[in-house]
Symmetry: C2
Subunit: 197 residues, 2 copies
């Protein structure tokens, strides 16, 4: 590490996503000019977060406790399990929907070519959860990439083996989406998956 | 402070310029997913920077030492002094030009209406520097706002009182700029300030 402390700060800021040399400089000056208190608080919170945030032992999302608030809550429905790929998917669903069930976070998706095997995305843990008899329905909210499809297929097989109902969230044209700007794959899917009125 | 540590981190990230709730979330997850080491380094550097970076006692720019590297350097020309408004202006000139003189950073501009008086922008210090007899030329690189003009005028008077030559950087159409996209004020100035060839 060399240069002045200001140069070191500009350099270090580039670890943030989407921050190039120019924005790093802008952020550094902004912090020094106007918000040292806020930046101090940020730095301290960041150190704590990095140190203490790990994975929930039930659903594998991020949490600083053994179990995340959703898994620990007795107000959530234990019989419905929504399967997502990443912790941010949990946040997205929580912010958007009135979902009252629980989650299971894969932290990845099946990809034999990249060496990602079922046990790497928590399938052992999921199998146990499914076998426990508590879960009545599994909702798949994984991506529609090839790896996502493979993952969905694998989870569906697991669920069926335990006689658990499996569903998948709907894919199609977003609400308010203009057909003209929707990609072809989505539009094709929306047509073939049309529903009778 | 409430909420999970992750929510606190998202909240704290919003002190950065241009970071709204969505990008704060994206940054928080990026850090936790992929770059805890980089973020730890950033947080530590930020704490150090906030703690230790103050103002150079000669030119008033940011530095963690008593004098900034430029003021402390014996390779820079003491007889030329470039007057800028902000520390980031020093960085901009250093990165762009082959300027070998020194700087003086006002940390603001004259604005009687907002209660910014000459002594608030270091004019006492500048007067002393000019009176010392070391400085032969002052280059004004302040903004072209009304406050910038008032500041330029004030500094020019100071310099003349000490028999120091005063110049101002050139304003006009940027190199490579298309006339069609230049604002009227700049274009008008470029015409009236035309130079014989």
């Amino acid at each position: 590490m060399s240069g002045t402390l200001l140069e070191q700060l500009v350099d270090a800021l580039r670890c943030l996503p989407g921050v190039g040399p120019k924005s790093a400089q802008r952020i550094a000056f902004h912090v020094l000019d106007r918000n040292r208190a806020g930046a101090k608080h940020l730095a301290e919170t960041m150190l704590q977060a990095i140190e203490r945030i790990g994975h929930c032992e039930d659903c594998r999302t991020y949490t600083e406790d053994r179990r995340c608030p959703i898994c620990a809550s007795d107000k959530r429905d234990n019989s419905v399990l929504c399967i997502v790929e990443r912790p941010q998917d949990v946040t997205a669903i929580e912010q958007a929907a009135e979902y009252r069930g629980k989650y299971f976070v894969l932290l990845g998706r099946l990809s034999p070519l990249d060496g990602v095997r079922p046990e790497d995305i928590g399938m052992d843990l999921l199998r146990q959860r499914l076998a426990s008899g508590v879960i009545a329905e599994v909702i798949l909210a994984v991506s529609t990439t090839m790896e996502g499809e493979a993952t969905a297929h694998y989870v569906a097989e697991l669920a069926r083996a335990s006689n658990v109902r499996v569903s998948r969230i709907a894919y199609g044209v977003p609400l308010g989406g203009e057909l003209e700007y929707i990609d072809r794959g989505t539009l094709r899917h929306a047509l073939t998956s049309r529903r009778d009125l």
